[in-house]
Assembly symmetry: C2
Homo-oligomer: 289 residues x 2
């Protein structure tokens, strides 16, 4: 019923954080300060994450190698959440653990006039990861429902039609070899306020502060409802949503790292075979200058 | 005369590695196994690089913050060099030290039919970094001279015209706020052979092995001459070339890290000022729920 499910094993965070596709979602029943599957605190979580890092880097390199060798697989990490929920932090601290050659990050702001002149998925399609890549969407096509709805940028019939459009489109992505990992970073109104105050109090963070973030806070319940609806209506078997409690940055980083590692493990990727006769190439190379 | 110049200070590797614009270039006079400015070996070099990393990350974040706040500056790191010279290694180990949100990496292979139907700079332009970004070109527009020449893909008048085209184009980039850092990774024929053999001997590296890399070795002197000519004719005051001896990976990584840090230091970037009245925003935020 929207609450996090019990773990299948202590190491399968995805089972703790995945929402049941189709089940009602009530975000007020998920505590943004909770740390499912990681009850031993920050120090231990940082150790666990450091322990995962080499495996994460190895799996990412296999994905990249397969992509360079004709494999179709790619991963799309969709990050949604209120301002200050840590979408940039995930890009930096989670994806920063692997080879940047295999990572593409796209941040979606308000659409430009050119983008608005196209279908809402036009600008999204252009940023999809190539084979072998992990693509990160810092905001995404979900803004075309959530923001449009909360800000009243288009009539209801426009954004209502997009739930099904998105579900069809994501299904197609999955069929074409993309693993879609959708993460809602769930932050509390109180923690968000603290982070906005911290931006105002630190001159090295002033550039991150946008007055509209405070305007958005006034509509907090409307945002939460709009997010809950996309989590429910766009949570599918092929592309489920994960809700990551995000009041603790250390938990957020560990959780998203774990989600990606679990997905990559599931691929069971080996290393691509040589496309040459290795012994013959070795002889040719040794014979040459 | 193509040899590395003496250092201005022990910490200014750029002065050791920069080629004098316009001076004749003789790559046979630069030892790929040398380690200019870093004579204390691998262990010490790794320590120096680790010591630079926090400063590098801080400077990169300032660049990114300025870009997000309207600043025009961006950095383009052009990597050229023979196969196995470590272009991918630089992307991974040097750029992997900073926030991936501020890094874009573009690898240029053989042009597609669509790309060949356009001017040679068309596909290059499309991958230029945005303001605030460090863009990395793993191979670049220089292949449109060097590869085309060595492989005989077009008549001489075609690639001959491109030296001046590139110089004009890079000058324009610099005038528009891009700092162009051009690095030639200088590897020896013997070390390159070792690395190709290592790829054959390690099944986790078979995917990196391309038979054409051995074919290219047969033309080694022709490649070296073609590189020397672009180093000489496209080394300009606004966009000089740096030759980084690349037989030692630890030196290569330290040298490119240093080059980027020195460039970023030169910008003297502060943090962007707030675009709001901080005290008023603070009061508004505290008054809200």
């Amino acid at each position: 019923m929207g609450k996090h499910r019990r773990p299948a094993s202590p190491h399968q965070l995805s089972d703790l954080l995945r929402l049941d596709p189709g089940a009602p979602v009530d975000l007020t029943r998920i505590d943004p300060g909770s740390t499912p599957g990681s009850d031993e605190g920050k120090k231990r979580a940082r150790e666990v994450q450091a322990g995962l890092a080499p495996r994460f880097a190895d799996l990412q390199e296999r994905l990249y190698a397969q992509g360079r060798s004709g494999g179709p697989r790619r991963v799309l990490l969709v990050l949604q959440g209120m301002d200050t929920s840590g979408k940039g932090g995930v890009s930096r601290h989670v994806l920063g653990q692997v080879d940047p050659q295999g990572v593409t990050i796209a941040a979606f702001g308000a659409p430009t006039e050119e983008e608005l002149a196209h279908d809402f998925l036009w600008r999204i399609e252009r940023e999809l990861p190539a084979a072998g890549q992990i693509g990160v969407f810092d905001r995404s096509h979900y803004e075309d429902i959530v923001s449009v709805r909360v800000r009243g940028l288009a009539p209801q019939e426009v954004w209502e039609a997009r739930y099904d459009r998105i579900n069809d489109w994501e299904r197609q992505l999955v069929e074409d070899g993309t693993t879609v990992v959708k993460v809602f970073l769930h932050i509390s109104r109180a923690e968000s306020k603290e982070r906005l105050l911290a931006r105002l109090d630190d001159p090295t963070k002033h550039w991150k502060y946008k007055a509209k973030d405070v305007d958005d806070r006034a509509l907090w319940p409307a945002w939460q409802q709009a997010y809950a609806d996309v989590l429910q209506r766009c949570g599918t078997d092929v592309a489920p949503w994960f809700v990551v409690p995000a009041d603790h940055k250390w938990y957020r980083d560990l959780a998203v790292t774990s989600l990606l590692v679990e997905q990559l493990e599931r691929f069971g990727l080996g290393w691509p075979a040589a496309d040459v006769d290795v012994a013959a190439e070795r002889a040719r190379l040794l014979a040459a200058e």
